[in-house]
């Protein structure tokens, strides 16, 4: 069975999806022949470009990569990648990807989703994927609005959002996608933005390298229905003040002049000025394997435009990354153990069952 051979090779490490050197790809090889049809200026363009840029670095054969999406503007993404792809139904990409990855552990599976797709209609599948820790990569394009249906508020839209369906302002409290992911036992949780392509590409690479469900939230600007939603973080002027880039083993420093930092008073984070009273040594050093700290970081989530007092900068980078057994690997192991335990399958014995009798 050709298919089984391929899976077996992968499991034995003999195939492993490595590509011959001659077949080295460029970003262009990952661009499909389809015209890209997002609105001009949409944040999705940069994300697509970085995905195509990062693919050659993964060292995978093109045919072993699959992009699966649900519904929404972001969900068009697979059509533009010259890999295998499926544009599925609203919210269900994590479930489809689970079935694919569990049955085909040799494939590199990427889920493309948005805030409506993953946190509204598909929220159940999203949290279940994270808890199972299926070895797939999930890129959540968060634009805090429903773009494809033309401008209703989304589950990440701040309270009071004026949208087509909420002319008097939205009432429901938004999800904090990273806190939700950690709460759902996510083992890899990271954030990037469309307007910092270099960092975005780096995060995509980390997403790929991590074994388990890698959840990368990407702040993505919807130029038509929610332009500027993340401007404070993306604008060159305000970005240094409002964001903090996390680096493993590095202290939490931010500000245009690198003059601010975050320290921990017990378990209580506080923003401090690095001008005498506190120095770098006093600051919180980022450790992406520390779940308590990851939870604290995920809570740096005040809405800057309406904040009061000293606000925390929004963290970008890998908040949390630990190794936890992957569901798909465990399935494979259990199936193999069953084979060892129960021996060569004998269909005739199975059909015969425990007791038979003869009629003459």
């Amino acid at each position: 069975m050709a298919l089984q051979t391929k899976i077996d090779e992968f499991l034995n490490g003999s195939g492993n999806g490595e590509i011959a050197e001659a077949a080295a790809y460029s970003a262009k090889d990952f661009s499909s022949d389809q015209d890209v049809r997002w609105c001009p200026g949409c944040g999705d363009y940069t994300i697509l470009k970085q995905a195509q840029n990062v693919m050659p670095d993964l060292g995978l054969a093109k045919e072993d990569i699959v992009f699966i999406s649900g519904i929404g503007c972001a969900a068009r993404f697979p059509y533009y990648m010259d890999t295998f792809g499926m544009h599925s139904i609203h919210g269900r990409a994590p479930a489809i990807a689970t079935g694919l990855k569990v049955s085909r552990p040799d494939l590199s599976v990427w889920i493309i989703t948005g805030d409506g797709d993953s946190l509204s209609i598909g929220a159940n599948h999203f949290v279940q994927l994270l808890r199972r820790n299926v070895n797939v990569n999930l890129m959540l394009f968060n634009n805090q609005i429903y773009g494809l249906t033309k401008g209703q508020y989304s589950p990440t839209a701040p309270e009071g959002t004026i949208s087509k369906s909420t002319p008097f302002g939205s009432l429901d409290h938004p999800f904090n996608p990273l806190a939700l992911s950690l709460g759902a036992e996510g083992a890899f949780v990271a954030r990037a933005m469309d307007r910092d392509p270099k960092h975005l590409k780096q995060m995509m690479l980390r997403t790929h390298q991590h074994k388990g469900t890698s959840m990368l939230e990407i702040y993505q600007n919807c130029i038509v229905f929610n332009d500027g939603a993340f401007e404070l973080f993306t604008d060159k002027k305000s970005r240094p003040r409002e964001t903090i880039y996390l680096e493993q083993g590095e202290p939490l420093i931010f500000g245009a002049d690198k003059d601010k930092g975050v320290r921990l008073d017990g378990l209580k984070p506080e923003v401090v000025e690095l001008n005498g009273k506190y120095s770098e040594e006093d600051l919180w050093v980022h450790d992406e394997t520390d779940s308590t700290k990851a939870h604290l970081l995920s809570r740096f989530f005040e809405h800057p435009a309406r904040g009061s007092g000293l606000l925390f900068p929004r963290p970008f980078g890998v908040l949390y990354a630990v190794d936890r057994p992957c569901y798909d690997e465990m399935v494979t192991t259990q199936n193999q153990q069953a084979m060892e335990q129960l021996g060569e399958p004998d269909l005739d014995a199975l059909l015969r069952g425990p007791e038979t009798w003869e009629v003459k």
């Binding site: 489809i96 990807a97 079935g99 049955s103 269909l347 059909l351 038979t356």
Partner: protein, 618 residues
């Protein structure tokens, strides 16, 4: 007192007790022994939806009916000849199902004040002459069980639990059955608890000897072997046969099988069953919900596995959108619907075949799928296999409509050998390099079927999705002519399956005549038996039973037109009958029962006669 040995052609026994009394096991063990003796048989278990409804109450009654005989047995029997009632509630719930003059064996310990109150009896039916129409044997099963276990130092609970074995032993004596198969079973089941095994066997033998020595019973019965077709048989229930059909299809298609499922009555046993056979290359995934269950199966199918999802009506509703996706993607997908009474949550443990319309039409847009339906517990094997074959060879979702009656009912099965099974022809797209023609995912063969192009195959990278696609390329297309063409193509592909399924046969009776009784699914046995009786009485009636429903067999229209009248009995409010009228413009008549239970043979016979009368007078 001498004991008379009498021969019987057929007997129906109903075991009834509290859901904690072990009546299902008692019934199954009696069934196995009876099957090994070569009788033909059918069984029907009935249990409450609640795991343990309040003990001693009518809603808590669990029962198991077994119909066996030396002649052909096709149904679990209408009225029973023997009713075993372990308590007052069991008697109350089942007395109406006992024929006048039938035998009641009661456990008198279940007729104390407390039990009578729980069953809401004002007075003890054993004492007020209300059972004068029946032969009642009063046995203090509880007392005898405890006595036979004296000195064994068992807990109260363990003693209580073995009392069903006393009844089983007693019935084995009454019907001349050997104990060995049951003793083997008990020794195996309690291999790690030899004391419990010993206790159960002791009680079983005590029950048997009680029959012999108590001088209560005046008759013993012998039921000779049935004239079954020669061969080797086993016993099976429908859900197990379904599981085996899937395993066999995976084997014959040389594919790994992936089942995505969410527990639901009465389909869960398919998930349970398949999860035991991982060494056959089977992966089972208990998903977070029905939608994830079907979606994961679609994901696996995209990757080249035999993707299967199992559920019942309320779950299949939730899967609708994803099934539509599989229609659009033109991927194989097997959807098992073990139907139950609806709508909504309905009656989970009750029998109905009311999801046929759902299977045919229950999705948005023009969304044709293939549909098959097994007609008996053993036929679940064949039709589950066929569902997989059609799905894989025609790249289309297939709905498999079983129901609670088939799922839990059992019959002797002349099981096949692997060598008897068809090979399933799976065509994967082959790798390509730069010099080859560009790959077109929606190119079709003469059956309108596209190839299965799975990830990991070099040179055929492509995208599929739920948006309408251009014929050939599979690119998104909203173009008017293309949409109409694709809708027609998907339907033509489904209809073309008719060339690859058997022609419709006439199960009984002439190919041409006055009346055709057209059935589908689990009503087979009842219709067959009723038609047999009607023909014996001289009526010109034929029985046609569908196993392939979408598409219909090619000759069905001609066949039905050979009859003056077509009558369609169904356990719903008229679903197949509407499909027949719609497709063939035949004025088919309906017979409908929607009571959560199967047709009784006599009941169906009378209904058919009544319908014939109106038809021929009309």
């Amino acid at each position: 007192m001498s004991i008379k040995d009498q021969e019987r052609e057929e007997v129906t026994i109903r075991f009834a007790g509290d859901s904690g009394d072990g009546m299902q096991l008692t019934g199954l063990l009696f069934t196995n022994t009876t099957a090994l003796l070569g009788n033909d048989l059918r069984t029907l278990p009935e249990f409450p939806a609640e795991i343990r409804a309040p003990a001693g109450t009518v809603p808590g009654v669990s029962s198991f009916q077994l119909h066996f005989g030396s002649k052909e047995i096709m149904t679990p029997g209408d009225d029973c000849d023997v009713l075993v009632a372990m308590n007052s509630a069991a008697l109350k719930a089942n007395l109406a199902l006992l024929r006048k003059g039938g035998v009641i064996i009661v456990n008198t310990a279940g007729f104390d004040k407390k039990n009578l109150n729980l069953a809401k009896y004002d007075e003890n039916p054993l004492e007020n002459n209300s059972l004068a129409d029946y032969t009642v044997f009063e046995v203090d099963v509880t007392k005898f069980t405890k006595e036979s276990l004296k000195g064994m130092d068992l807990s109260y609970k363990d003693e209580e639990r073995s009392k069903n074995m006393f009844v089983l032993g007693l019935l084995y004596w009454m019907y001349n059955r050997p104990l060995d198969s049951t003793i083997d079973f008990l020794e195996g089941k309690f291999a790690k608890k030899p004391t419990i095994a010993e206790a159960n066997i002791k009680v079983l033998k005590a029950g048997y000897h009680f029959g012999e020595t108590a001088e209560v019973f005046t008759s013993r019965f012998t039921i000779k072997e049935a004239a079954l077709e020669p061969g080797t048989y086993r016993s099976t229930v429908g859900n197990d046969a379904t599981v085996l059909g899937l395993v066999a299809a995976a084997r014959q298609s040389n594919l790994p099988l992936f089942l995505g499922s969410y527990p639901i009555t009465p389909a869960s046993d398919v998930l349970h069953g398949l999860s035991k056979y991982k060494h056959f290359g089977i992966t089972t995934f208990q998903a977070e919900d029905e939608i994830a269950a079907v979606s994961s199966a679609i994901g696996a199918a995209f990757g080249g596995s035999l993707g299967v999802t199992s559920s019942s009506g309320p779950g299949v509703v939730l899967k609708g959108e994803a099934i539509g996706l599989a229609v659009m993607l033109e991927l194989p997908l097997v959807v098992l619907n073990i139907q139950r009474a609806g709508p909504s949550t309905g009656m989970p443990t009750k029998i109905e075949q009311s999801d046929l319309m759902q299977a045919v039409y229950g999705r948005n847009g023009e969304s044709p799928v293939a549909i098959v339906a097994p007609r008996s517990p053993a036929d679940c094997f064949d039709m589950a296999f066929e569902a997989c074959r059609i799905s894989l060879e025609h790249m289309i979702p297939v709905m498999y409509l079983s129901d609670g009656y088939l799922a839990n009912g059992s019959e002797p099965w002349k099981y096949p050998q692997t060598s008897d099974l068809k090979k399933i022809d799976v065509r994967f797209e082959q790798p390509r390099n730069g010099e080859d023609e560009p790959f077109l995912p929606y190119l079709r063969d003469d059956r309108h079927v596209r190839t299965w192009a799975i990830p990991g195959t070099a040179g055929i990278e492509h995208r599929v999705g739920g948006l309408e696609k251009e014929d050939g390329t599979g690119n998104i297309s909203y173009e008017a002519e293309n949409h109409q063409k694709m809708v027609k193509l998907r339907k033509a592909k489904r209809d073309k399956i008719a060339d690859f399924i058997p022609l419709q046969d006439v199960d009984q009776g002439n190919e041409k005549g006055e009346i055709a009784i057209l059935g589908w699914g689990s009503t087979y046995g009842a219709i067959r038996t009723a038609v047999f009786a009607l023909r014996k009485e001289g009526h010109d009636v034929s029985h046609i039973h569908l196993r392939y429903i979408s598409p219909f067999p090619r000759n069905l229209e001609t066949l039905l037109n050979n009859f003056e009248h077509v009558i369609v009995p169904e356990l719903n409010d008229g679903q197949l009958v509407r499909l027949i009228r719609d497709q063939y413009l035949i004025p088919a008549r309906a017979i409908n029962k929607i009571k959560g239970s199967p047709f009784g043979v006599e009941e169906l016979k009378q209904e058919i006669l009544r319908t014939i009368e109106t038809e021929t007078l009309a």
